[in-house]
């Protein structure tokens, strides 16, 4: 009996020990497999010689991201930089002639959803994300890599920052004067608000569409028409107006343009939220996708994985000033206002349904409204 008990206890102990260690062992084995797989991909990528990435010509990519990637893997990056519309036009024409030149796209949400995905120019990315620190769900705030498309296969969203509602020059506008959305309609600010032209595709129209949904038609009409919001198509012009106080309220200035102003000592304040409209988050600056028939498939895979790694995302997030979705990226350099707070309900400006439908519908309504006068 004793012997039987001993056997039972021993068996139970073995099972328990096995149970306790099986997880880590499996994880270890899995990690080892993952590392092996990743090493094989990197080796194959090196043989391909280069990777071709298409994206916006921002200085972070040119000055920081590409040199770091090349230093890490020894793979040169050919960066095809340009406006999304130009890049897609080029790629479509190339493809019609049987040329496939791009490996990876870093494109805006509109281009990613309404062109690359819709026109089937990209392949599933999910199975290619094998770099251990990318595949590891614990490294992501969302518990796993956020694939934004309906099939959760093609387009990775790597950022989620609280979007700036507007900027003010506090030498001309006191923060207390901008508490409620209706404050923007104060006649005192007539001609003092600048906006990226809302009558054409771009950030200005996107924000106007959001205001249309959140605040209604009358608000949009009063803000853009009666308040004589000054329109421009040049982002630098808008930032300079803000700095000089010519138009001390800027609806569409970009964080990366305004940050140097703050460093220079200009009294510029970023406002994320005002009463009357809920806060907003977005996936700027880009969404990641992997071209189909990529000419350098392994190098493209390495780049796609690396840009989602701690080193890749941190480099980009730091340079651009966006909050990434990784848990291990240093966020101390960010404006705390950029970090989404738990329990707060945000309007997601990069939500799939909004990008492929709602934004366009509401933007058309805004155009109709603003062009009518």
């Amino acid at each position: 009996m004793r012997l039987d008990n001993c056997k039972q206890i021993s068996l139970t102990a073995v099972i328990m020990i096995g149970f306790v260690f099986s997880g880590p062992i499996a994880l270890w084995a899995q990690t080892r497999d993952g590392e092996k797989e990743w090493a094989a991909v990197v080796e194959a990528a090196n043989k391909e010689g280069k990777v071709v990435v298409a994206g916006s010509p921002d200085p972070v990519m040119r000055n920081d991201v590409i040199p770091k990637f090349t230093a890490r893997f020894g793979i040169p990056v050919e960066f095809v930089a340009g406006r999304s519309s130009q890049i897609v036009a080029r790629v479509e024409t190339e493809r019609a002639s049987g040329i496939f030149s791009i490996d990876v796209f870093l494109a805006g949400p509109d281009t990613s959803a309404n062109e690359l995905y819709k026109d089937k120019m990209i392949d599933p990315l999910k199975p290619l994300l094998v770099m251990p620190e990318v595949a590891d769900g614990t490294k992501w705030k969302t518990g796993k890599v956020w694939l934004a498309d309906p099939q959760e296969q093609f387009i990775v969203r790597a950022f989620s920052s609280v979007a700036t509602l507007l900027f003010i020059n506090t030498e001309h506008v006191k923060p207390d004067e901008m508490r409620n959305m209706k404050d923007l309609l104060n006649p005192k600010w007539r001609g003092k608000i600048s906006t990226e032209d809302p009558t054409t595709t771009g950030a200005g129209a996107n924000k106007a569409a959001r205001f249309y949904v959140q605040m209604g038609e009358e608000f949009v009409k009063t803000l853009y028409l009666d308040q004589k919001a000054v329109r421009t198509r040049d982002r630098r012009q808008m930032t300079d107006w803000l700095a000089r106080g010519t138009q001390p309220i800027c609806l569409d200035c970009r964080e990366d343009d305004v940050r140097p102003l703050v460093k220079e000592g200009f009294k510029v304040l970023e406002i994320f939220e005002m009463a009357g409209a809920g806060p907003t988050i977005n996936g700027s600056p880009w969404m990641l996708s992997y071209a189909n028939k990529a000419p350098h498939p392994k190098a493209g895979q390495v780049f796609a994985n690396w840009i989602l790694s701690k080193e890749g995302l941190e480099t980009y997030a730091k340079g651009y000033g966006s909050a990434s979705l990784r848990t291990d990226v240093d966020e101390s350099y960010l404006n705390p206002g950029n970090l989404p707070k738990k329990g707060v309900k945000y309007f997601d400006d990069t939500d799939w349904k909004w990008i492929v439908g709602g934004r366009h519908e509401n933007r058309d309504k805004v155009w109709k409204l603003l062009k009518a006068r």
Binding site: T93, A96, T232, R235, E264
Partner: protein
């Protein structure tokens, strides 16, 4: 007397076969490289399907383009702006060209050199320089004006109709026209003017009755080129017009091109208006040229280029030119140079406002040296290729008035009426559809070929106007002396055309260095030129670095201008 009858030497007609062959070759070449992209774009404008889907044809794109609110008012604004800008600019350009080339005004070469350099200063930072000078709130000139007694309000405002007109006059209003007009004014023999003087005409009458009518082909060609260029103008209107609610036609085309998904059909439909305008203008241009007029100014008989003596007025004329150049170019250019050394362009009140970092960063950027090398190869190839190709084409157009001449000339004009990005798309499609795509696509050679095509209207018209000035007796004399056609072309025609060749060659060199819309869809990582780098700096708001790069491009063109003009003048013998 018809033009053909007056200016065609018999020798040109005798060599029918090679010329006929050349004509057919040109026709085929231009039909493929100019006509096909246009046909592709026009066909595409009726295709209603999404890219990659089976084509469905209809007129919806056209309807949408022309019923879009604001299209017609934008078209009206573009026409008004073009006309208002053209008239004073042409008067000033002809005056400048006449003073530089036909009178004893001192400093003519200096003024001409300034016109050349001014033309190639990139317009985007220059427009911003004008904003710094004229803005009602912080403009330097307004601040100066307000310090004067009795002036309380701002005197200047760049945002609006007249601001756009003024800034255009500064950034490109007359420089381009003077560059094209001076060589043909210089070619004008003094014999006719001397005869007019003997007949009792004063300088004004002589200018109005002799000089201008004889030079009409070039003046008209420059006017047509400038008018259509004015209709397509875009950047200045975007910066100065949008804040004032002024939208032009090109803005509407741009808007369609920026949409997602892109609306190339609508953009092409709107662009077709330029084709229509061009067709009307060319009809009148041809009608004028074939109306029994004679434009020959260089003959084998007593060619003299004596200049009109202005007496004491020559100093007044020089002072006037200098003042114009100083106000419209040197003033904003000074701000541009200063801006490239500022930590933030135009902000003088920040701590330590000046820095050399933008120049240092630009010159130490590894992409810069590659882009510089690419740009020099592209610009050199474009200049040489354009001169060779279009001098021959112009010779054909002038020497043979067959039924194909209007068609050839129409094909030459196509690049001038297509918005740059649409032309680029057409050329991209063309390259990819040919077996040469592996040589041309993404290479510096492909970009050079595209730029040579884009240069066809200006280059052909310049050579054509120059050839129209040459008398048939020059060739006939050479032939009678036993010279072959090839020898005559090389020793008689080419030296006489050298100043025009130098002018258009340099102009094409400069355009190739600064052109953005043509290479934007054609470059690759290895063939990225400086202009694309400039676009990237502007796109990301790195204005100071863009100003530095723009000035560097201008300096390169300045050096090439000195070398080229020296070469051109030496080829021509003496001035």
């Amino acid at each position: 007397m018809s033009l053909a009858a007056t200016s065609l030497p018999r020798s040109r007609r005798l060599h029918l076969r090679p010329i006929r062959l050349a004509e057919l070759s040109f026709l085929l070449f231009l039909a493929v490289v100019m006509g096909l992209p246009l046909l592709f774009l026009l066909t595409g404008s009726f295709n209603l399907s999404a890219p990659g889907k089976p084509a469905v044809y209809g007129i919806d794109n056209w309807l949408r383009a022309f019923t879009d609110s604001g299209t017609l008012s934008a078209l009206g604004m573009s026409f008004t702006l073009s006309v208002v800008r053209l008239i004073p600019a042409m008067i000033l350009s002809v005056s400048f060209a006449w003073l530089i080339a036909r009178t004893d005004m001192p400093g003519g070469k200096f003024i001409e050199a300034v016109c050349w350099i001014a033309y190639f200063v990139p317009d985007f930072p220059l427009v911003l320089a004008w904003i710094l000078l004229l803005d009602p709130s912080f403009g330097f000139l307004n601040s100066v004006a307000k310090s004067l007694p009795g002036v309380d309000a701002s005197l200047f405002n760049p945002y609006g109709f007249w601001g756009i007109v003024w800034v255009h006059t500064s950034t490109g209003g007359i420089w381009f026209k003077v560059m094209l007009l001076v060589p043909v004014f210089r070619r004008l023999g003094a014999t006719l003017e001397e005869a007019a003087r003997v007949a009792g005409a004063n300088t004004a009458v002589m200018l109005w009755r002799i000089t201008l009518p004889v030079l009409a082909p070039m003046i008209l060609a420059v006017s047509v080129l400038s008018f259509i260029r004015g209709l397509q103008s875009f950047n200045t209107e975007l910066l100065l017009g949008t804040p004032a609610g002024i939208y032009v036609y090109s803005t509407k085309i741009y808007d369609f091109l920026q949409r997602e998904p892109r609306a190339y059909g609508e953009a092409t439909a709107l662009g077709s208006v330029f084709l229509l305008v061009l067709a009307v203008l060319l009809f009148f241009y041809w009608k004028f040229l074939s109306g029994g007029k004679k434009f020959t100014v260089v003959t084998g008989q007593g060619y003299s280029t004596l200049r009109v003596k202005l007496g004491k007025w020559r100093y007044v004329a020089f002072a006037g030119c200098l003042l114009y150049v100083a106000v419209t170019m040197l003033l904003p250019l000074t701000f541009l140079v200063i801006g490239s050394f500022m930590r933030r362009y135009g902000f003088f009140n920040i701590a330590s406002p000046f820095t050399v970092n933008h120049w240092h960063n630009m010159l130490s950027d590894p992409i810069f040296l590659v882009a510089l090398k690419n740009s020099l190869i592209i610009a050199g190839t474009t200049a040489a290729g354009g001169v060779l190709l279009y001098s021959a084409l112009a010779y054909l157009l002038v020497s043979r008035r067959t039924v194909t001449a209007p068609l050839l000339e129409s094909l030459c004009w196509i690049p001038h009426v297509l918005p740059g990005i649409l032309l680029s798309l057409g050329v991209l499609w063309l390259f990819l559809a040919t077996p040469l795509r592996f040589v041309l696509y993404g290479s510096v050679w492909g970009i050079a070929v595209a730029l040579i095509l884009a240069d066809s209207p200006v280059t052909t018209q310049a050579f054509k106007a120059g050839l129209l000035q040459l008398g048939a007796d020059l060739e006939e004399a050479a032939r009678v002396s036993g010279a072959s056609w090839r020898y005559t072309y090389r020793r008689v025609l080419l030296p006489l055309l050298a100043p025009i060749a130098a002018a258009v060659g340099l102009m094409n060199f400069g355009s190739a260095l600064t052109s953005i819309s043509t290479p934007v869809l054609l470059y690759s990582h290895d063939s990225r030129p400086l202009a694309i780098l400039l676009l990237e700096y502007s796109f990301t708001g790195e204005l100071e670095r863009a100003a530095a790069l723009g000035l560097l491009i201008t300096a390169i063109i300045g050096v090439m201008m000195l070398i080229g003009r020296k070469l051109g003048l030496q080829l021509a013998g003496s001035e």
